[in-house]
Symmetry: C2
Subunit: 195 residues, 2 copies
């Protein structure tokens, strides 16, 4: 049994602990007891910070979604040829995913049993649809190939980008650099493996 | 309470039920009780077919792995320029994934708490390494770009292919056709989105 420690958590540092536990045990499989144990403070101390675990989920996926939707608000995502806007959005999406790794990992794993989970899935779908629209516009402008259906291309594209959460670990020595990964994603997405 | 039904299962049909439950609840989260309930037969009837749930896991991931390694044994994967062999392997990997959807889904989700899980992860890694070797050979032959590291390219490539399990549902009306998906994977992998 570990001794409870003094509660010196900030909203952000408590959230970081919670997200780690959610990603490890799954959101459904995590109890307030688990969170209390991982944080090393009592359940009532946690309730001093948040109303419950759903609020922690809400903040965590909110942080991931803010990062992603923030990309679409940048001028580079709104002006110019669609293909250039798409390139910007794809690169930035990969970067946000790596910068906010545990939060985006959680977002990609939620499965929709609570209001917050359904909301997160809905927002995620909205983001994907915005990217699909950009892809469609770039096809219409003649810059992207017409022989792969837009919906299918969007899915495969996100499949590639989202898979980064499975193996990217920034703290590992000799790990690939964030910008190196983002460059590779953009190159493969637009021009593929061929020389 | 459901009435137990007469045990008319074959090894394959019982395996199909088990894999469905494993994919839904996770392998760790599935008890023999859960399997008995899903199959509608008693636990002792299940033990008549298999020694336990690990044997079912072994058969299920074995089926996925046989499908994948079977690709590498084909003449098209062994003869000719590396880039052509790679194209064959990528296309067939996508097809096996769709044909053996629940089995490959399970394979991609196992996380290594039992001997069988660790073995499955090890075999999956071997398959990825075989593909990485092919990619390296195609780079050496001058057919693939040199500005994306082989290990990273392999990861992103499998990220794209493996993501198919997240959304491909063959029985859904209006769903994308298997060959259409495999074509798209090959086009995007080699030549990207650009027109």
């Amino acid at each position: 049994m570990t001794m409870p420690k003094r509660d010196t958590y900030t909203p952000d540092s408590l959230l970081a602990v919670a997200v780690e536990v959610f990603n490890e045990r799954g959101y459904d499989g995590t109890s307030m007891e688990d969170l209390s144990r991982a944080a090393g403070i009592s359940k009532s101390s946690i309730y001093h910070h948040v109303r419950g675990k759903e609020e922690l989920l809400n903040r965590a996926v909110g942080r991931a979604l803010d990062g992603l939707f923030g990309i679409l608000d940048q001028p580079e995502a709104g002006n110019g040829r669609a293909v250039q806007r798409l390139e910007y959005v794809i690169r930035r999406t990969a970067v946000v995913l790596m910068d906010e790794l545990p939060y985006v990992t959680l977002l990609l794993r939620v499965r929709g049993n609570t209001t917050t989970e359904r909301w997160a899935m809905e927002r995620r779908r909205e983001f994907d649809q915005q990217v699909a629209k950009l892809l469609k516009a770039a096809v219409a402008e003649g810059d992207l190939r017409v022989d792969v259906e837009v919906r299918l291309a969007t899915r495969l594209l996100f499949g590639m980008i989202n898979s980064i959460v499975e193996w990217y670990r920034p703290a590992v020595k000799g790990a690939l650099d964030r910008d190196q990964v983002a460059d590779a994603v953009v190159r493969l997405a637009f021009d593929g493996l061929r020389a």
